[in-house]
């Protein structure tokens, strides 16, 4: 019996998610099984050939074979593989990061279920089904995001904004079908371009829809926030590339490229300004992500393969940077008893040096500061943009500088000795495993910063899959 690849890609994480819901009480097996399921699926996508069947007990698994559900096709195409690998490997890494931070959490089963839905969104051919699958993943995200009691504005806003993006994507499908029947009606294409831009703008947190990013980062559990900012946004990014690939006319709309560049620059500038003025560490993470999303769009707007390769590098750098910030933010929030205002956390660096270090290094990497992978990608982006407009490159650099300023202000407060010596609290003792994770992530950040060619090759390979870009 031959199993089609998409059945395995969606079925294995979903099946494991059901098992993990039962095992939720035991955090260590849950976390490691979730990581193993995601990692195994990612490895199969990475290493199995698309066309040759792979023997698995009495079954044969054929990765490139399509799965047809009620006439709709899910299929793994060569260009999808890097996107799927990114989703599954990032999810696996984040489950390990969350292992010590979220005991007895439903993040492991729900996160795995979300991963399966998002992977299916990349595999399905029609926009409408992809949009509905992304919506389902977003609705599921609300549960682990607000597992502990507190404000739920982030979850409400994320749910509302993702739903607001849904009509644009679904109606686009309708308009494209109409266009197939009436090819002379160019107005249909114009409307589709506007709706698609609007929907992807909302999903990527583009200005003026950026408020969900900061709200989620402020209220949500840090590992889940990182999951949303890497796996969910990564999926949206790969979906956007897939649509640009499928609907070449969209890219040929006169204003589309300049619109993407302008929105990207606006996101970087506004994100940098807001990050520089932040008092709360969580919000700083949100605005740093806004700047990074802007950099992705700016790279796309360059209309060059080099830009796309740089965007891939930025995307790969993000889980490392945000993973570190997550580990740091989680510990610092515990110190502040849920409050991450820098005034509350004055002197916290002396009580939680590893967490502060993780937050600092992660923030530097996300801001594109030297010695991190983010720097190599951002520097390449500034040079690429400067070729066409030096002013735009300076604006982009200003956005990154704003994030650094916000980070420096926060770290300065964390390093300032508290006026009254505080008694050590039991919860402040560093977990050794968390420290090891921090060291590993910092090591990986610096190694990839020193040797960015390890990732840039991957970026170039990905860019080759999208021929709508100029070389």
């Amino acid at each position: 019996m031959t199993l089609p690849g998409p059945l395995f890609i969606a079925g294995l994480p979903l099946g494991m998610a059901v098992i993990l819901q039962v095992l939720r009480r035991w955090t260590t097996p849950s976390a490691w099984l979730a990581a193993a399921a995601a990692g195994l699926t990612g490895a199969l996508v990475a290493f199995l050939p698309l066309t040759e069947p792979f023997r698995l007990a009495s079954f044969q698994l054929e990765l490139g074979s399509p799965l047809i559900i009620l006439g709709r096709e899910l299929v793994v195409q060569p260009v999808d593989r890097l996107g799927l690998m990114f989703i599954f490997f990032t999810a696996a890494g984040l489950f390990i990061v969350a292992w010590r931070l979220m005991p007895h959490s439903n993040f492991f089963p729900v996160g795995l279920g979300m991963t399966a839905l998002l992977a299916s969104a990349l595999l399905v051919q029609q926009v409408v089904y992809a949009a509905l699958l992304v919506e389902m993943a977003a609705l599921l995200a609300v549960f682990p995001l607000h597992e502990t009691a507190g404000r739920t504005v982030g979850g409400v806003r994320y749910m509302a904004y993702t739903t607001l993006a849904l009509p644009g994507l679904m109606i686009t499908q309708l308009l494209l079908d109409l266009y197939a029947s009436f090819p002379n009606d160019q107005g249909l294409l114009g409307t589709s371009a506007i709706l698609l831009s609007l929907s992807f703008g909302i999903l990527l947190g583009a200005v003026p829809f950026q408020t969900w990013l900061s709200a989620v980062a402020t209220d949500g559990a840090p590992p889940v926030v990182t999951f949303l900012f890497t796996v969910n946004i990564g999926t949206v990014w790969f979906m956007l590339l897939a649509y640009l690939q499928s609907y070449a006319w969209l890219w040929q709309q006169a204003a589309f490229s300049s619109l993407i560049t302008t929105v990207g620059l606006l996101m970087m500038t506004l994100g940098g300004l807001l990050a520089a003025a932040q008092q709360r560490l969580g919000r700083l993470v949100g605005y740093a992500t806004l700047v990074d999303n802007g950099a992705l769009l700016l790279a796309l707007g360059s209309q060059q393969k080099a830009g796309l390769a740089l965007a891939a590098m930025l995307l790969v750098a993000r889980p490392l940077a945000l993973g570190l910030m997550t580990l740091g933010l989680d510990g610092l929030r515990r110190l502040g008893e849920g409050n991450d205002d820098r005034q509350v956390l004055i002197g916290a660096a002396w009580r939680a040096p590893w967490r502060t270090g993780a937050f600092l290094v992660g923030g530097m990497a996300l801001a594109g500061f030297p010695l991190s992978l983010g720097f190599a990608a951002r520097w390449g982006l500034y040079r690429l943009v400067a070729d066409t407009s030096f002013f735009q490159a300076m604006l982009a650099l200003g956005g990154s500088a704003g994030v650094m300023m916000g980070l420096v202000s926060c770290v300065r407060a964390l390093l300032t000795p508290a006026k009254r010596p505080t008694k050590p609290q039991p919860g402040l003792k560093e977990d050794r495993i968390v420290v090891i994770l921090i060291i590993l992530l910092i090591g990986a950040t610096f190694i990839l910063g020193f040797f960015p060619q390890l990732v840039s090759q991957l970026g170039i390979q990905m860019a080759e899959g999208y021929p709508f870009f100029a070389p």
């Binding site: 559900i69 006439g71 109606i171 309708l174």
Partner: protein, 205 residues
């Protein structure tokens, strides 16, 4: 077509215009009155009105309209349980009161409904009758109002449900296939669960 389906089809086409008014009045009640029991009753009524509109749309398959209505009522049930838990946790007393900033809400509601009416006149949606088109625009503006003016999980969540209903109504006219219908039902149920969860989680603070 069986006599029952024929009768239902006639009834739904006769009731389409009142059902659009029903959607509007239910939305206005949710927007203007802050008492959660009245809001949930209004939502229940809104799903009934939507059921009539779906019956008009699926004139040969009324079971799909019934399914949509039942799913809506199921969501209302989940929201009722959460709202009651929330009331017990906050020890809130039962009393009728208008929403805060009532004059502002009345003005925005009037303006937005006018916008929906004009949009339905100016841009009639493909595959839909005038009534259904008006209902879609109305649900869209109500969703924007709920999401835009209230940060509370209960009200913004109802905005999400309104948006999903409007989209469902519009898209079902074009593609009444089982897969889209099934996925929309799952999305609505998940949204209902997520809103219920957030309503309770907000209070646990």
């Amino acid at each position: 077509m069986t006599p029952f389906v024929l009768w239902l089809s006639r009834l739904s086409s006769f009731a389409a215009t009142p059902a659009v008014w029903g959607v509007f009045f239910a939305g206005a009640v949710i927007y203007l009155i802050a008492e959660w029991r009245i809001r949930l009753l209004a939502l229940l009524g809104q799903y009934f009105a939507l059921g009539l509109l779906f019956a008009h749309l699926f004139d040969t398959r009324p079971e799909l309209a019934l399914l949509k209505t039942l799913v809506g009522w199921l969501v209302c049930g989940a929201l009722f349980l959460s709202a009651r838990t929330r009331e017990e946790a906050t020890r809130g007393a039962l009393h009728f009161h208008w929403a805060a900033d009532l004059p502002f809400r009345i003005i925005t509601l009037t303006v937005m409904v006018l916008v929906a009416y004009l949009a339905a006149q100016r841009y009639p949606l493909p595959f839909l009758t005038a009534d259904l088109s008006a209902a879609c625009f109305l649900l869209l503006v109500l969703a924007v109002l709920f999401i835009g003016t209230d940060g509370d999980a209960g009200v913004a969540g109802l905005g999400v449900l309104n948006l999903l209903s409007g989209l469902d109504l519009f898209y079902s006219a074009w593609d009444p296939g089982l897969l889209v219908t099934g996925l929309m039902v799952i999305v609505t149920l998940l949204a209902g669960l997520a809103i219920s969860y957030l309503t309770v989680a907000e209070v646990a603070e």
